[in-house]
Symmetry: C2
Subunit: 145 residues, 2 copies
């Protein structure tokens, strides 16, 4: 029962915090700001709002943590991120940096149905015509040289 609205930007904050926690153990304002390419005051604004929504544990000057609910949202977003990035790279043969950027935006909007279908399509194609796929990727890589 998720009655609260989480904006695209808030999802990005949650995802960033999730990854910082996963990779560095601690979540710090400075690091969130660096990753999100904003200044620290913007991070504090965001933290206050997310705390009010019960998605982040935050007391000023204290350590920052995602709540269960916050982590759940972050994981959902991140899993879409991973899926989309993989699809762009492995199926469409898009350069990693571009794939990353596109996934990063699309993940916040893409419909569940589309996510599922992309997953299925990738599996189907890789199983049914792996050679054709390889051929396509090969051509694209050669063009890039």
């Amino acid at each position: 029962m998720r009655w609260l609205t989480v904006s695209k930007r808030e999802e990005e904050y949650l995802e960033t915090m999730y990854l910082l926690h996963k990779n560095k153990g601690v979540i710090r304002v400075k690091d969130i700001a660096r990753v999100m390419r904003v200044k620290p005051p913007s991070v504090v604004d965001a933290l206050k709002k997310l705390a009010e929504k019960g998605l982040v544990e935050y007391e000023k000057y204290d350590r920052i943590l995602l709540t269960d609910e916050g982590r759940k949202i972050a994981e959902e977003v991140y899993s879409k991120h991973v899926l989309l990035t993989k699809f762009f790279i492995d199926i469409l043969g898009i350069p990693p940096e571009v794939a990353e950027q596109d996934a990063c935006q699309f993940e916040h909007y893409v419909h569940e149905v589309t996510v599922e279908r992309i997953k299925e399509f990738a599996a189907f194609i890789q199983e049914q015509c792996p050679y054709v796929l390889k051929q396509f990727l090969k051509e694209k890589i050669e063009e890039a040289d």
Copy 2:
């Protein structure tokens, strides 16, 4: 030489106006508002800004037109829209309403490289393994019943 920045939302206004002009001949505040799901005052705000940027011909109470530059941007966005929608529907077999929604968001962010690659991939697959594709779509449509 496009030095001015056009926000995502502005792109949407331009695209809406472009389609209204194409389909109804005239562009009216009321219709833009309906399509964009905003109230008329918001449309007027947007029109003023777009006029300042030279993307729209706008004098109050007068007829509304896109300038060449405005139409150019609208066409670029719209062509991405069409491509993405087609890809989602024809290749991934996503239901039209969902495809429409997703395309509508993604079109504003998707990288040129990705657009090109999607185009190429669709052509390649449709040529190299049309039967496999048909099989995939058939399964998905059957599941939906």
